[in-house]
Symmetry: C2
Subunit: 149 residues, 2 copies
DNA sequence: ATTACAAACCTATAATTATTCATTGTGAAA
DNA sequence: TTTCACAATGAATAATTATAGGTTTGTAAT
Protein backbone atom coordinates (compact mmCIF):
# COMPACT_ATOMS: atom_id res chain seq x y z
CA UNK A 1 0.00 0.00 0.00
CA UNK A 2 2.07 2.77 -1.36
CA UNK A 3 0.36 5.90 -0.06
CA UNK A 4 -0.26 4.52 3.33
CA UNK A 5 3.41 3.66 3.59
CA UNK A 6 4.53 7.04 2.39
CA UNK A 7 2.29 8.63 4.94
CA UNK A 8 3.96 6.52 7.58
CA UNK A 9 7.34 7.61 6.30
CA UNK A 10 6.45 11.25 6.85
CA UNK A 11 5.30 10.29 10.28
CA UNK A 12 8.53 8.56 11.09
CA UNK A 13 10.88 11.22 9.89
CA UNK A 14 8.98 13.81 11.87
CA UNK A 15 9.47 11.89 15.05
CA UNK A 16 12.86 10.27 14.52
CA UNK A 17 16.22 11.35 13.21
CA UNK A 18 16.54 8.87 10.41
CA UNK A 19 20.07 8.76 9.09
CA UNK A 20 19.79 6.21 6.31
CA UNK A 21 17.25 4.53 4.13
CA UNK A 22 18.12 1.20 5.69
CA UNK A 23 17.18 2.63 9.05
CA UNK A 24 13.89 3.78 7.62
CA UNK A 25 13.26 0.30 6.27
CA UNK A 26 13.82 -1.08 9.75
CA UNK A 27 11.43 1.41 11.34
CA UNK A 28 8.79 0.71 8.74
CA UNK A 29 9.03 -2.97 9.41
CA UNK A 30 8.27 -2.33 13.04
CA UNK A 31 5.07 -0.69 11.85
CA UNK A 32 4.23 -3.64 9.70
CA UNK A 33 5.38 -2.33 6.35
CA UNK A 34 7.59 -4.88 4.72
CA UNK A 35 9.66 -3.15 2.05
CA UNK A 36 13.15 -2.97 0.71
CA UNK A 37 15.57 -0.09 0.44
CA UNK A 38 14.91 0.15 -3.30
CA UNK A 39 11.32 1.05 -2.71
CA UNK A 40 12.23 3.56 -0.04
CA UNK A 41 14.62 5.23 -2.42
CA UNK A 42 11.73 5.70 -4.80
CA UNK A 43 9.39 6.86 -2.06
CA UNK A 44 11.92 9.43 -0.99
CA UNK A 45 12.17 10.72 -4.50
CA UNK A 46 8.41 11.00 -4.78
CA UNK A 47 7.96 12.64 -1.42
CA UNK A 48 10.84 14.94 -2.24
CA UNK A 49 12.51 14.18 1.00
CA UNK A 50 15.95 15.50 1.51
CA UNK A 51 19.03 14.53 3.45
CA UNK A 52 20.04 17.45 5.63
CA UNK A 53 22.27 18.05 8.60
CA UNK A 54 20.65 17.51 11.95
CA UNK A 55 21.70 19.75 14.79
CA UNK A 56 23.93 16.95 16.04
CA UNK A 57 25.97 17.11 12.85
CA UNK A 58 24.61 13.87 11.50
CA UNK A 59 22.61 13.54 8.36
CA UNK A 60 18.87 12.99 8.57
CA UNK A 61 15.93 12.92 6.20
CA UNK A 62 13.47 15.81 6.25
CA UNK A 63 10.65 17.08 4.09
CA UNK A 64 12.03 18.98 1.16
CA UNK A 65 12.16 22.68 0.43
CA UNK A 66 9.57 22.34 -2.34
CA UNK A 67 10.66 25.36 -4.34
CA UNK A 68 8.84 24.53 -7.52
CA UNK A 69 5.25 23.50 -7.09
CA UNK A 70 3.32 21.22 -9.36
CA UNK A 71 2.97 18.50 -6.77
CA UNK A 72 -0.69 19.22 -7.22
CA UNK A 73 -0.79 16.42 -9.78
CA UNK A 74 0.45 14.16 -7.10
CA UNK A 75 -2.38 15.09 -4.78
CA UNK A 76 -4.98 14.51 -7.42
CA UNK A 77 -3.48 11.11 -7.98
CA UNK A 78 -3.55 10.26 -4.31
CA UNK A 79 -7.09 11.44 -4.21
CA UNK A 80 -8.14 9.22 -7.07
CA UNK A 81 -6.39 6.19 -5.80
CA UNK A 82 -7.23 6.20 -2.14
CA UNK A 83 -10.80 7.41 -1.88
CA UNK A 84 -13.46 4.72 -1.75
CA UNK A 85 -16.76 6.38 -1.01
CA UNK A 86 -18.18 9.82 -0.35
CA UNK A 87 -21.32 10.43 1.68
CA UNK A 88 -22.78 13.34 3.59
CA UNK A 89 -25.31 14.57 6.08
CA UNK A 90 -26.06 18.18 6.89
CA UNK A 91 -22.86 20.11 6.44
CA UNK A 92 -20.59 17.13 7.04
CA UNK A 93 -19.04 15.08 4.27
CA UNK A 94 -17.76 11.64 5.16
CA UNK A 95 -15.04 10.26 2.95
CA UNK A 96 -13.89 6.68 3.23
CA UNK A 97 -10.41 5.79 2.05
CA UNK A 98 -8.19 2.78 1.87
CA UNK A 99 -6.96 1.87 5.30
CA UNK A 100 -4.11 4.03 6.53
CA UNK A 101 -4.61 6.53 3.74
CA UNK A 102 -7.01 9.02 5.29
CA UNK A 103 -4.24 11.37 6.32
CA UNK A 104 -2.69 11.46 2.91
CA UNK A 105 -6.04 12.00 1.24
CA UNK A 106 -7.03 14.70 3.71
CA UNK A 107 -3.82 16.53 3.05
CA UNK A 108 -4.56 16.28 -0.63
CA UNK A 109 -8.00 17.78 -0.06
CA UNK A 110 -6.52 20.55 2.02
CA UNK A 111 -3.93 21.37 -0.57
CA UNK A 112 -6.33 21.26 -3.47
CA UNK A 113 -8.15 23.95 -1.61
CA UNK A 114 -11.77 23.36 -2.36
CA UNK A 115 -14.17 26.25 -1.77
CA UNK A 116 -16.60 26.27 1.12
CA UNK A 117 -14.57 23.81 3.14
CA UNK A 118 -14.23 24.93 6.72
CA UNK A 119 -11.96 22.16 7.85
CA UNK A 120 -11.38 18.45 8.00
CA UNK A 121 -10.22 15.74 10.31
CA UNK A 122 -8.75 12.40 9.35
CA UNK A 123 -8.62 9.08 11.13
CA UNK A 124 -7.19 5.91 9.69
CA UNK A 125 -9.61 5.39 6.82
CA UNK A 126 -12.21 8.09 7.30
CA UNK A 127 -12.25 11.83 6.79
CA UNK A 128 -14.85 14.23 8.09
CA UNK A 129 -15.05 17.41 6.08
CA UNK A 130 -16.99 20.35 7.41
CA UNK A 131 -18.59 22.64 4.85
CA UNK A 132 -19.56 26.19 5.67
CA UNK A 133 -23.20 25.53 4.78
CA UNK A 134 -25.34 22.47 3.97
CA UNK A 135 -26.35 24.07 0.69
CA UNK A 136 -22.79 23.83 -0.58
CA UNK A 137 -22.33 20.21 0.32
CA UNK A 138 -23.81 18.53 -2.69
CA UNK A 139 -21.68 20.46 -5.16
CA UNK A 140 -18.60 19.53 -3.17
CA UNK A 141 -19.66 15.91 -3.12
CA UNK A 142 -20.19 16.09 -6.85
CA UNK A 143 -16.72 17.43 -7.40
CA UNK A 144 -15.24 14.71 -5.26
CA UNK A 145 -17.09 11.94 -6.97
CA UNK A 146 -16.26 13.40 -10.39
CA UNK A 147 -12.59 13.46 -9.49
CA UNK A 148 -12.34 9.87 -8.40
CA UNK A 149 -13.81 8.54 -11.61
CA UNK B 1 41.26 28.04 -0.65
CA UNK B 2 38.26 26.56 1.03
CA UNK B 3 35.86 29.47 1.29
CA UNK B 4 36.59 30.75 -2.14
CA UNK B 5 35.83 27.32 -3.52
CA UNK B 6 32.63 26.98 -1.54
CA UNK B 7 31.56 30.32 -2.83
CA UNK B 8 32.16 29.07 -6.32
CA UNK B 9 30.12 25.99 -5.58
CA UNK B 10 27.13 28.11 -4.65
CA UNK B 11 27.67 29.98 -7.85
CA UNK B 12 27.74 26.84 -9.92
CA UNK B 13 24.68 25.19 -8.45
CA UNK B 14 22.71 28.36 -8.96
CA UNK B 15 23.51 28.39 -12.63
CA UNK B 16 23.69 24.68 -13.46
CA UNK B 17 21.68 21.62 -12.66
CA UNK B 18 24.37 19.60 -10.99
CA UNK B 19 23.35 15.99 -10.62
CA UNK B 20 26.35 14.49 -8.88
CA UNK B 21 29.37 15.48 -6.88
CA UNK B 22 31.62 14.19 -9.61
CA UNK B 23 29.97 16.59 -12.00
CA UNK B 24 30.59 19.40 -9.57
CA UNK B 25 34.22 18.40 -9.35
CA UNK B 26 34.45 18.65 -13.12
CA UNK B 27 32.83 22.07 -13.21
CA UNK B 28 35.09 23.33 -10.46
CA UNK B 29 38.11 22.16 -12.36
CA UNK B 30 37.05 24.27 -15.29
CA UNK B 31 37.14 27.23 -12.94
CA UNK B 32 40.60 26.32 -11.76
CA UNK B 33 39.70 24.59 -8.52
CA UNK B 34 41.47 21.28 -8.40
CA UNK B 35 39.72 19.10 -5.87
CA UNK B 36 38.42 15.61 -5.36
CA UNK B 37 34.96 14.28 -4.70
CA UNK B 38 35.84 13.66 -1.07
CA UNK B 39 36.39 17.33 -0.46
CA UNK B 40 33.20 18.22 -2.27
CA UNK B 41 31.27 15.84 -0.08
CA UNK B 42 32.54 17.75 2.94
CA UNK B 43 31.85 21.10 1.34
CA UNK B 44 28.31 20.03 0.63
CA UNK B 45 27.86 19.03 4.23
CA UNK B 46 29.19 22.36 5.43
CA UNK B 47 27.16 24.41 3.02
CA UNK B 48 24.15 22.34 3.89
CA UNK B 49 23.40 21.69 0.30
CA UNK B 50 20.73 19.24 -0.51
CA UNK B 51 19.91 16.85 -3.30
CA UNK B 52 16.43 17.63 -4.53
CA UNK B 53 14.32 16.85 -7.53
CA UNK B 54 14.69 19.22 -10.43
CA UNK B 55 11.64 19.96 -12.50
CA UNK B 56 12.94 17.52 -15.08
CA UNK B 57 12.68 14.69 -12.57
CA UNK B 58 16.41 14.39 -12.13
CA UNK B 59 18.24 15.02 -8.91
CA UNK B 60 20.19 18.22 -8.45
CA UNK B 61 21.98 20.01 -5.67
CA UNK B 62 20.41 23.12 -4.19
CA UNK B 63 20.90 25.29 -1.15
CA UNK B 64 19.31 23.67 1.83
CA UNK B 65 16.09 24.41 3.62
CA UNK B 66 17.97 25.69 6.66
CA UNK B 67 15.27 24.93 9.20
CA UNK B 68 17.42 25.26 12.27
CA UNK B 69 19.69 28.24 12.32
CA UNK B 70 22.98 28.42 14.10
CA UNK B 71 24.98 28.75 10.95
CA UNK B 72 25.84 32.09 12.45
CA UNK B 73 28.91 30.41 13.91
CA UNK B 74 29.90 29.53 10.44
CA UNK B 75 29.69 33.12 9.30
CA UNK B 76 31.75 34.33 12.17
CA UNK B 77 34.34 31.77 11.24
CA UNK B 78 34.39 32.82 7.61
CA UNK B 79 34.68 36.36 8.78
CA UNK B 80 37.67 35.63 10.97
CA UNK B 81 39.46 33.58 8.43
CA UNK B 82 39.03 35.58 5.28
CA UNK B 83 39.26 39.21 6.31
CA UNK B 84 42.67 40.81 6.00
CA UNK B 85 42.30 44.51 6.65
CA UNK B 86 39.63 47.05 7.46
CA UNK B 87 39.86 50.72 6.55
CA UNK B 88 37.43 53.55 6.05
CA UNK B 89 36.79 57.02 4.74
CA UNK B 90 33.66 59.06 5.30
CA UNK B 91 30.78 56.64 5.50
CA UNK B 92 32.49 53.92 3.48
CA UNK B 93 34.28 50.98 5.01
CA UNK B 94 36.72 49.11 2.83
CA UNK B 95 37.36 45.49 3.77
CA UNK B 96 40.08 43.48 2.13
CA UNK B 97 39.78 39.70 2.08
CA UNK B 98 41.65 36.73 0.78
CA UNK B 99 41.29 36.52 -2.94
CA UNK B 100 38.00 35.07 -4.11
CA UNK B 101 36.50 35.34 -0.65
CA UNK B 102 34.91 38.75 -0.73
CA UNK B 103 31.52 37.37 -1.62
CA UNK B 104 31.51 34.86 1.17
CA UNK B 105 32.66 37.44 3.67
CA UNK B 106 30.11 39.99 2.47
CA UNK B 107 27.36 37.48 2.86
CA UNK B 108 28.61 36.82 6.35
CA UNK B 109 28.47 40.52 7.12
CA UNK B 110 24.98 40.75 5.71
CA UNK B 111 23.78 37.82 7.71
CA UNK B 112 25.37 38.94 10.92
CA UNK B 113 23.26 42.00 10.51
CA UNK B 114 25.34 44.80 11.89
CA UNK B 115 23.51 48.00 12.81
CA UNK B 116 23.86 51.17 10.73
CA UNK B 117 24.91 49.30 7.63
CA UNK B 118 23.05 50.54 4.58
CA UNK B 119 24.45 48.04 2.13
CA UNK B 120 27.55 46.46 0.73
CA UNK B 121 29.09 45.37 -2.50
CA UNK B 122 31.73 42.72 -2.99
CA UNK B 123 34.34 42.19 -5.69
CA UNK B 124 36.91 39.47 -5.69
CA UNK B 125 38.88 40.48 -2.62
CA UNK B 126 37.35 43.79 -1.58
CA UNK B 127 34.10 44.80 0.04
CA UNK B 128 32.69 48.28 0.23
CA UNK B 129 30.28 48.74 3.09
CA UNK B 130 28.12 51.82 3.24
CA UNK B 131 27.17 53.07 6.68
CA UNK B 132 24.18 55.31 7.24
CA UNK B 133 26.35 58.04 8.74
CA UNK B 134 30.08 58.73 9.08
CA UNK B 135 29.67 59.01 12.84
CA UNK B 136 28.76 55.34 13.06
CA UNK B 137 31.70 54.13 11.01
CA UNK B 138 34.36 53.93 13.65
CA UNK B 139 32.28 51.79 15.99
CA UNK B 140 31.56 49.42 13.12
CA UNK B 141 35.22 49.27 12.23
CA UNK B 142 36.00 48.53 15.85
CA UNK B 143 33.56 45.67 15.92
CA UNK B 144 35.04 44.24 12.76
CA UNK B 145 38.60 44.46 13.94
CA UNK B 146 37.63 43.01 17.31
CA UNK B 147 36.01 40.06 15.60
CA UNK B 148 38.94 39.12 13.46
CA UNK B 149 41.33 38.93 16.38
C1' DA C 1 65.04 27.87 11.57
C1' DT C 2 62.75 24.18 14.01
C1' DT C 3 59.25 22.06 16.36
C1' DA C 4 54.53 21.33 17.36
C1' DC C 5 50.07 21.65 16.07
C1' DA C 6 46.14 21.96 13.37
C1' DA C 7 43.59 22.61 9.13
C1' DA C 8 42.85 21.07 4.55
C1' DC C 9 43.20 17.78 1.62
C1' DC C 10 43.80 13.21 -0.96
C1' DT C 11 43.66 8.15 -1.61
C1' DA C 12 41.36 4.31 -0.84
C1' DT C 13 37.49 2.26 0.62
C1' DA C 14 33.28 1.56 3.25
C1' DA C 15 28.68 2.85 3.27
C1' DT C 16 24.76 4.36 1.17
C1' DT C 17 21.60 5.24 -2.55
C1' DA C 18 19.69 4.87 -7.33
C1' DT C 19 18.58 2.11 -11.06
C1' DT C 20 18.10 -1.96 -14.13
C1' DC C 21 15.82 -5.90 -15.01
C1' DA C 22 12.60 -9.42 -13.70
C1' DT C 23 8.47 -10.59 -11.25
C1' DT C 24 4.15 -10.04 -9.26
C1' DG C 25 -0.07 -7.83 -8.35
C1' DT C 26 -4.18 -5.16 -10.19
C1' DG C 27 -7.57 -3.13 -12.75
C1' DA C 28 -9.88 -2.50 -17.15
C1' DA C 29 -11.52 -4.21 -21.49
C1' DA C 30 -13.06 -7.84 -24.15
C1' DT D 1 -12.96 -15.13 -16.74
C1' DT D 2 -9.17 -14.35 -19.62
C1' DT D 3 -6.08 -11.13 -21.43
C1' DC D 4 -3.65 -7.04 -21.78
C1' DA D 5 -1.35 -3.14 -19.91
C1' DC D 6 0.71 -1.04 -16.46
C1' DA D 7 1.87 0.04 -11.63
C1' DA D 8 4.42 -1.52 -7.73
C1' DT D 9 7.95 -3.98 -5.89
C1' DG D 10 12.19 -6.86 -4.97
C1' DA D 11 16.89 -8.69 -6.00
C1' DA D 12 21.00 -7.60 -7.67
C1' DT D 13 24.04 -4.32 -8.86
C1' DA D 14 25.79 0.08 -10.58
C1' DA D 15 26.50 4.53 -9.14
C1' DT D 16 27.22 7.76 -5.87
C1' DT D 17 28.56 9.61 -1.45
C1' DA D 18 30.77 9.64 3.17
C1' DT D 19 34.57 8.70 5.93
C1' DA D 20 38.98 6.58 7.97
C1' DG D 21 43.69 7.25 7.87
C1' DG D 22 47.61 9.34 6.34
C1' DT D 23 50.14 13.35 4.02
C1' DT D 24 50.94 17.95 3.02
C1' DT D 25 50.74 22.72 4.13
C1' DG D 26 50.34 26.65 6.72
C1' DT D 27 51.13 28.90 11.24
C1' DA D 28 52.47 30.13 15.68
C1' DA D 29 55.54 29.60 19.39
C1' DT D 30 60.04 28.73 20.84
Amino acid sequence: MRYSRQNKILDIINTHEVETQERLVALLRKSGYKVTQATISRDIKELQLVKTLSSSGKYKYTVGASVDQPISDRYIKIFKETIQTVAYSGNIIVVKTLSGCANAAAEAIDTLNFPNVVGSIAGDNTIFIVANDPSNVSSLVNRFTEMIK
